[in-house]
């Protein structure tokens, strides 16, 4: 028992370090990629190719004065960054990153916790993200925060349903909620190594998943809660210093989280030929991240009414149709 706790603690430490580093370097990746897409050079001065820029940003934020306005709701104001950050990184507790390995004679599974309700757990954590945003907006005394939080929560709950429904097709085919089993089902059977990936059987589900995931994480072109031209900073207008950086890290951790879940559910997780499983997993996650950044550099922001109508009148019926279509197909093909 004690052994198991120690092994888990070491694994948790490693995964958390990896996630936080990946968050920091996602900001660098985003700035670099967007810069090059706009014919700029991006961060350049901190270290070679500006590689130390995330570190410089973190140090700068840590040294900033923490401004707390007089008339905030103290308790919720202090809780909001935590409520935003913790669920974001908790997603990684159930994502399998490798097929397991042996260390000092111990067989270590390549996942922190193989919950048999992994998919439900992930959707629970993703939904909890809205609390941090609502608490932040409600406890800040600024109108911008309030409007940003309300918009954001309405957007997140609208897209959450389609987000959940988009992967039900996989559950119908796979008959399991455990992410480890879903990855195992996508293992290669012949030289076509992606033949069993769920993106092949669920192309529409995959498209719906990406669209809703972008909206869930409040990214461009669905980044209305942070529309700086109308709402200044959105829900975190009144936050500064480390509290602000918690929201910032949480946003990137959510992006990485939905990217990791998307890679696991649709792109075969760590499955892949030649390269080690962990490398395959990272490649797929960062492909997702690149897609996020690419979309941000390409598309203008939605208008709010278009956003809500798109969620309810297009994505939701499509997600239901995809679910029913998959069910009919499974019954007809007699699987």
């Amino acid at each position: 028992m004690l052994e198991m706790i120690l092994i888990t603690a070491v694994k948790v430490f490693m995964v958390l370090s990896a996630v936080l580093t990946a968050c920091a370097y996602s900001t660098y990746l985003e700035r670099k990629v967007v810069a090059h897409m706009q014919h700029r050079v991006g961060p350049l001065y901190a270290g070679p190719y500006g590689l130390l820029q995330p570190l410089a940003d973190a140090v700068k934020l840590a040294f900033k004065e923490d401004l707390v306005p007089d008339n905030v709701e103290r308790v919720t104001y202090a809780l909001a960054p935590v409520a935003s950050f913790v669920p974001a990184i908790l997603i990684f507790a159930v994502v399998p990153f490798s097929n397991g390995f042996t260390w000092f004679g111990y067989d270590i599974p390549g996942v922190i916790s193989d919950l048999n309700i992994g998919v439900l757990y992930i959707f629970a954590m993703t939904s909890l993200g809205v609390y941090g945003i609502v608490l932040a907006g409600w406890s800040s005394p600024s109108k911008y925060s309030m409007m940003g939080a309300i918009r954001s929560s309405a957007q997140m709950i609208s897209y959450e349903i389609s987000y959940g429904l988009s992967i039900i097709g996989i559950l119908i085919i796979g008959n399991t909620l455990s992410l480890t089993e879903i990855v195992a089902q996508q293992a290669a059977e012949s030289w076509v190594f992606f033949g069993n990936w769920y993106i092949v059987k669920q192309p529409l589900g995959f498209l719906l998943y990406i669209t809703c995931a972008i909206a869930e994480t409040n990214r461009a072109p669905f980044d209305l809660p942070e529309a700086e031209s109308e709402l200044v900073g959105g829900y975190h207008t009144e936050y500064s210093s480390m509290r602000f950086s918690m929201f910032f890290i949480a946003e990137y951790a959510y992006m990485l989280g939905v990217a990791a879940v998307g890679a696991t559910l649709f792109l075969g997780g760590w499955n892949g030929p030649f390269l080690p499983p962990v490398i395959w997993f990272l490649i797929k996650v960062f492909l997702f991240m690149f897609l996020y950044i690419w979309l941000r550099a390409t598309f203008p922001r939605f208008r709010y009414d278009q956003l809500m109508q798109f969620g309810w009148k297009v994505l939701f019926p499509l997600a239901i149709a995809n679910t029913m279509g998959t069910a009919v197909w499974v019954v007809l093909s007699g699987q």
Binding site: P69, K143, I320
Partner: protein, 117 residues
């Protein structure tokens, strides 16, 4: 059970990171507040009134619709996982259930509840 223990360790570690960063940054950052600095942000004007303003009741309607269809999604999850053992009968039942709910969506749509004016 051990799987849930692992999640618990993860939660503790996650909260630990936040508390540690807050504590660490409290040690090194300056602290020099005065009355003007402690005002909340409103484009450099003196803030007017409370921030708890009235907002469009459409947000409330969307909240209501969300609750209905989120419950539907909750019903779909166990149905989808057990679908392999249930087969055609479960499909027919779920089609009826979804048709009823789709009628609800269609009603809300025609009533203009999904429209943002």
């Amino acid at each position: 059970m051990t799987e849930y223990l692992a999640v618990l360790i993860f939660i503790v570690a996650g909260i630990g990171i936040v508390l540690f960063t807050f504590f660490f940054s409290k040690l090194i950052r300056p602290h020099n507040p005065y009355a003007e600095k402690d005002l909340n942000y409103e484009c450099a004007e003196d803030p007017q009134g409370s921030s708890w303003v009235q907002f469009n009741n459409r947000f409330y309607i969307f909240g209501l619709i969300f609750v209905i269809f989120d419950v539907e999604a909750i019903f779909l999850f166990p149905w989808a996982v057990a679908f392999g053992q249930l087969g055609l009968y479960a499909l027919v039942e779920m089609v009826i259930f979804i048709l009823i709910l789709m009628f609800g969506l269609f009603y809300a749509w025609k009533k203009g509840a999904l429209k943002w004016v």
